[in-house]
C-alpha cells in the first residue's frame, strides 16, 4: 500500500501550493524572470499551478543591458511559446550615466542596475508580491529565508523582523507599504533543479551546454566576450575555449567553466559531481563579507 513518492514530486507539489497561496492572497503579484535555470523551473511550476488557465500574473525581467545575447533570445522565445505577459524594465537613469560592470565595482553596478530598477518596477506597477527563484541552499543568509519573505517600506529585508511560518500556513496579510518576495523554490537544491529540468525535459539557455566560445582570463576567471563592449586589458587575449556556464547573469560578471558537457545528461552528471558551490562563479557575492545579506537588506531579491 505504501506509495513511493519521490522527493521531486514532494518538492513540486509544495511549490505549486505556494504559487496558488500567493496568487490567492496578494492583490497584484509578478514573477521575477531572470532567464536562468531556476527561472525556467520556477516558470514551469507556475504553469503547472494554474494550468489550464493562463498565468494570472506577468513576468518581470530586469534588463541591465549586459545579459548574454543568447539569454535575451531565449527569453523572447519562451514568452512566445507559452503565451506569457512580459514586462522588461531597465534603470534608464543608470544606463544614461553609463553605469556598467566593467568600470564600476560589482556592488555599485548591482545596486544601480539590478536592485534599484527592481524597486522602481515594483513601485511603478504597484506589485505587492514578487515570485523569485531563490533557494535556501544557495548562500548562508538565504538559508534563513521565509517562503513569504516580508519587505518593509522601501523593500528592506530585516532578518530580525521576519514573520514566523508554521506548518503549511502562509500568512500574506500586508501592513501599509509592505510587500513580499515569494520563494516557491525555497526547499530545492541546485541538484534538484537540474534533476527536475532533466525529468521534465525543459529547454534551458544554450549557454549551459559546452561549446567553443571566445573567452579571456580576467582575475583568474574565464569571462566570455559576448560583444565588443568587453575591451581587452594589456596582456589579455581572446581565446576560443570549450566552456559552459553553471549560473547566468551579466556576462562580464559571470565566469564560465571549461567543460565538454554538451548535452543535458552530461551537464547533470557534471553538476552532481561538482566540487565547488555554484555561486563561486558569481563575482557579486564575494565582494565583501556578508555581501548577500547586505544586498538583501537594501532590497535585492
Amino acid at each position: 500500500m505504501t506509495q513511493q513518492i519521490s522527493h521531486l514530486d514532494l518538492l513540486e507539489a509544495e511549490s505549486i501550493h505556494i504559487f496558488r497561496e500567493a496568487a490567492a492572497q496578494f492583490r497584484k503579484p509578478v514573477l521575477l524572470y531572470s532567464i536562468g535555470k531556476d527561472s525556467t523551473v520556477l516558470l514551469h511550476l507556475a504553469r503547472k499551478a494554474f494550468w489550464p488557465a493562463r498565468l494570472p500574473f506577468p513576468l518581470l525581467h530586469i534588463d541591465t543591458g549586459w545579459k548574454f545575447r543568447d539569454m535575451i533570445a531565449f527569453r523572447d522565445k519562451t514568452v512566445r511559446d507559452f503565451d506569457l505577459d512580459l514586462i522588461v524594465h531597465t534603470n534608464e537613469d543608470g544606463r544614461e550615466k553609463g553605469i556598467n560592470p566593467l568600470d564600476y565595482s560589482p556592488s555599485v553596478y548591482t545596486d544601480v542596475m539590478k536592485t534599484v530598477p527592481l524597486k522602481q518596477a515594483l513601485d511603478k506597477y504597484a506589485f505587492d508580491a514578487a515570485f523569485g527563484g531563490a533557494r535556501r541552499d544557495e548562500e548562508a543568509s538565504r538559508a534563513k529565508e521565509r517562503v513569504f519573505s516580508f519587505r518593509a517600506e522601501g523593500h528592506r529585508w530585516d532578518p530580525r523582523r521576519q514573520r514566523p511560518e508554521m506548518w503549511r500556513l502562509l500568512n500574506g496579510r500586508l501592513g501599509a507599504g509592505e510587500s513580499v518576495r515569494v520563494f516557491p523554490l525555497s526547499n530545492w537544491t541546485e541538484r534538484d533543479v537540474w534533476r527536475y529540468i532533466l525529468r521534465e525535459k525543459l529547454d534551458v539557455v544554450p549557454l549551459y551546454f559546452a561549446a567553443e566560445r571566445p573567452t579571456i582570463v580576467r582575475n583568474g576567471q574565464l569571462i566570455m566576450q559576448d560583444d565588443d563592449r568587453l575591451t581587452l586589458k594589456p596582456g589579455e587575449e581572446v581565446v576560443n575555449r570549450r566552456v559552459r556556464f553553471r549560473t547566468l547573469g551579466c556576462y562580464p560578471l559571470t565566469a564560465a567553466v571549461e567543460s565538454d558537457a554538451a548535452d543535458m545528461e552530461s551537464v547533470v552528471a557534471e553538476t552532481l559531481g561538482a566540487r565547488t558551490s555554484e555561486r563561486q562563479g558569481r563575482l557579486i557575492d564575494h565582494d565583501q563579507v556578508g555581501a548577500m545579506e547586505k544586498k538583501k537588506q537594501e532590497g535585492y531579491f
Binding site: 500500500m1 505504501t2 506509495q3 513511493q4 513518492i5 519521490s6 522527493h7 514532494l10 513540486e12 507539489a13 509544495e14 505549486i16 501550493h17 496558488r20 497561496e21 490567492a24 503547472k48 499551478a49 494554474f50 494550468w51 488557465a53 493562463r54 535556501r136 541552499d137 548562508a140 543568509s141 538559508a143 534563513k144 532578518p159 521576519q162 514573520r163 514566523p164 508554521m166 506548518w167 503549511r168 500556513l169 500568512n171 500586508l174 501592513g175 509592505e178 526547499n187 541538484r191 537540474w194 525529468r199 571549461e258 567543460s259 565538454d260 548535452d263 545528461e265 552530461s266 547533470v268 552528471a269 552532481l272 559531481g273 561538482a274 566540487r275 565547488t276 558551490s277 563561486q280 545579506e293
Partner: protein
C-alpha cells in the same frame, strides 16, 4: 533494526566514495553517451525534515556542521573555508560556521533564526532545520518545529535536563512532532560516563511520558570529535545503539501514504474559457480521493461527484495527501477559496467556537481588545473574541489558570469566530486542525496553535453583538460587485474588513453566514 551505512559516508582519509568525481574545468568522468543517469541523478525516495533544538551552547550548530562534514559531499570551497577558519577544542575546525549564516549571528556567536540545510544520503533527502536555543527566540524554534518530521533535542551532558529542554519538548508535542532523538552531547567532557548518560535518559522519561511522542531514541555523542555522529564511538563501548546518521536513515520518510480522513482545502478556482474548464485548485491535506467519489462542502453541505482530477501532466485516477491538483466536479456547486471538501463520512466541523493550544509568537503581549484573524488551511476568518484561560508552567509542565499571555508562552484559550469556518481537531486532521493567529492591524503572525475541540454555536447570545448581514453589505459597500467567484471573494474580503474595523471600535460583530457560503 540495523541501519545501512550511507553511500556518501567518508572513509578515514575524508575521500569521497561518491560514484562520480568531476572537477569543474576537467573532462567529466563519464562520456555523454555513457552517462548512467539512474546512478548519477537518482530521484530520492522522499524527504525527512529534521529539527535541531535545545538550549544555548549545547552545540546544535556544531553537531549539524559535523554531520555535514562527515557524511556529505561538502563543496571544496566550503571545506576550505572551515579549514582556513579558527580552530576549536583540540584543533578541530569550527563546524558551527557551516550553520550560522548571518553577520549578526557570527558577531554574537548565537543562532537567532532557523536555518535550513539540505543534504542527500544514498536514498533520501535530509533537511536540517536548525533552530535557536536562546529562550528569547523560542518562537522561531516553534516555527521550525512545525515543519519537522523528527526532532533532535540536544542536551549538554554536563548540565542534564534544563527548563529549556522541557519547554522545547512541550513545543514539539504542541506542534505535532511524534519522533524525538534525545542527543546527549559533550560526552567527552563527562569522561564518557555511562551513569551520567543513564541519569539523563531516566530524567527525560520522568516527564516526557505525558507527551504524545511515538518514539524517543537517546544517543550519547561528542559533536566536536564526531563520536556517534556519523561514525560509532570508540570511547563509549557501553553504547550499542545506532549513530545519529544511522538512525536518521532508518526513520520513515515524510508522508508517502495517505493518512486520516480526506480533506481538500480549496485554494483558488481555476477557469479557462477556451475549453470550458472550471477546476478547484488545492493540495490534498489528508487521505485520498478517487474519480467518481462523492465529496461534500463542509459548510453548505452541498454534494457533488469528482468528475476529473487534472494536472498539466494529465488526469489522475486518485489524488492523495500532499498532491497538488485541480478537481473538477460533475455539478457546479459554488465553492470558493476557504471551502474544505471531504467525503462526508468524517466531515470537518462547521465551527464558531474553538478550544486551542497555542504558542505566542509576537513580541507584543495578548490584548483582550485586539483585532485578530484566524488563518486556517486556506481560510482567513475574523476573530470576534479571543480568551486566554490557562498557561503551561514549564517547570512542572502543569497548566495554571491565567487570563493573559506574552511572548514564548504556551497558552490554552477559546477563540470565537465572526463567522462559521470549516476546521478539524489537530489529532483528527493536522493540516486543517492547525492555525496561525494574525494581528489584523499589523498583519503579523502573533500565535501558532492547534485546535483541540470545537462547537458550532456562538459562545453565548450577546445582545450587544452587531450582525453584519449580506443584505446590508449589498446595499452600498458591495453594490459594484457582480456574481462571480472573484466577486464573492471580494465580497467576503470587504465583509471581513468591516467586521475588523467595528471590532477595533469595541463593537462585537458577527458576519451573517449566507446560505451559499459566499461570505
Amino acid at each position: 533494526m540495523s541501519a545501512q551505512p550511507t553511500a556518501l559516508q567518508k572513509s578515514q582519509s575524508g575521500v569521497s566514495k561518491a560514484p562520480l568525481k568531476v572537477v569543474s574545468g576537467q573532462t567529466p568522468a563519464a562520456s555523454p553517451s555513457g552517462a548512467n543517469l539512474d546512478e548519477i541523478a537518482p530521484e530520492l525516495s522522499g524527504l525527512l525534515r529534521v529539527l535541531t533544538c535545545g538550549s544555548v551552547d549545547d552545540g546544535k550548530s556544531t553537531l549539524i556542521g559535523r554531520l555535514l562534514w562527515d557524511a556529505t559531499d561538502l563543496y571544496d570551497d566550503q571545506r576550505e573555508t572551515l579549514e582556513r577558519g579558527k580552530r576549536v577544542d583540540g584543533g578541530n575546525p569550527d563546524f558551527s560556521l557551516l550553520m550560522d549564516g548571518l553577520v549578526a549571528e557570527r558577531e554574537q556567536g548565537i543562532t537567532i533564526d532557523i536555518a535550513w540545510r539540505y543534504f542527500d544520503t544514498a536514498t533520501r533527502r535530509i533537511v536540517v532545520i536548525d533552530s535557536p536555543g536562546h529562550e528569547q527566540y523560542t518562537r522561531n524554534m516553534a516555527s521550525g518545529a512545525s515543519h519537522a518530521d523528527v526532532a533532535i533535542l540536544l542536551i549538554d551532558a554536563r548540565h542534564g535536563i534544563k527548563t529549556q529542554t522541557r519547554r522545547h519538548a512541550a513545543i514539539l508535542d504542541l506542534v505535532g512532532v511524534k519522533r524525538v532523538i534525545l542527543v546527549v552531547n559533550k560526552m567527552d567532557l563527562v569522561d564518557w560516563s555511562e551513569s551520567t548518560f543513564r541519569k539523563i535518559e531516566a530524567d527525560f522519561e520522568t516527564f516526557s511520558w505525558r507527551f504524545g511522542f511515538w518514539e524517543t531514541t537517546v544517543i550519547p555523542t561528542a559533536a566536536v570529535s564526531g563520536d556517534n555522529v556519523a561514525a560509532a564511538s570508540a570511547h563509549m563501548p557501553w553504547y550499542s545503539g545506532p549513530t545519529l546518521l544511522e538512525h536518521l536513515e532508518s526513520l520513515p520518510s515524510r508522508v508517502t501514504e495517505p493518512t486520516g480522513p480526506f480533506r481538500f482545502p480549496v485554494q483558488t478556482v481555476l477557469r479557462d474559457s477556451r475549453n470550458d474548464f472550471r477546476g478547484l485548485a488545492g493540495t490534498v491535506s489528508g487521505g485520498s480521493v478517487r474519480v467518481g467519489e462523492t465529496v461534500v462542502d463542509a459548510l453548505s453541505q452541498r454534494k457533488a461527484k469528482i468528475l476529473r482530477i487534472s494536472t498539466m501532466d494529465g488526469d489522475l485516477d486518485t489524488a492523495s495527501q500532499g498532491q497538488a491538483v485541480a478537481i473538477q466536479l460533475d455539478t457546479d456547486i459554488d465553492v470558493a477559496r476557504g471551502a474544505v471538501l471531504s467525503k462526508g463520512d468524517m466531515p470537518p466541523l462547521a465551527a464558531r467556537v474553538l478550544e486551542a493550544r497555542m504558542v505566542w509568537l509576537s513580541e507584543t503581549a495578548y490584548d483582550p481588545r485586539g483585532s485578530y484573524l484566524l488563518r486556517t488551511a486556506t481560510d482567513l476568518t475574523p476573530v470576534s473574541n479571543l480568551k486566554i484561560s490557562a498557561l503551561l508552567d514549564l517547570e512542572t509542565l502543569e497548566t495554571h489558570e491565567a487570563d493573559a499571555c506574552a511572548t514564548n508562552d504556551i497558552a490554552i484559550g477559546t477563540i470565537a469566530l465572526g463567522r462559521t469556518a470549516a476546521i478539524d481537531t489537530f489529532t483528527e486532521a493536522p493540516e486543517t486542525g492547525s492555525f496561525v493567529l494574525v494581528d489584523a492591524i499589523t498583519g503579523g503572525s502573533v500565535a501558532g496553535g492547534v485546535i483541540t475541540a470545537a462547537k458550532a454555536e456562538a459562545a453565548e447570545a450577546d445582545e450587544n453583538t452587531f450582525v453584519l448581514t449580506r443584505a446590508m453589505l449589498e446595499r452600498g459597500l458591495n453594490s459594484d460587485l457582480g456574481d462571480s467567484p472573484q466577486a464573492d471573494a471580494e465580497f467576503r474580503r470587504r465583509a471581513n474588513e468591516v467586521a475588523l474595523i467595528l471590532r477595533a471600535a469595541g463593537i462585537n460583530v458577527e458576519i451573517e453566514n449566507a446560505p451559499d457560503y459566499s461570505i
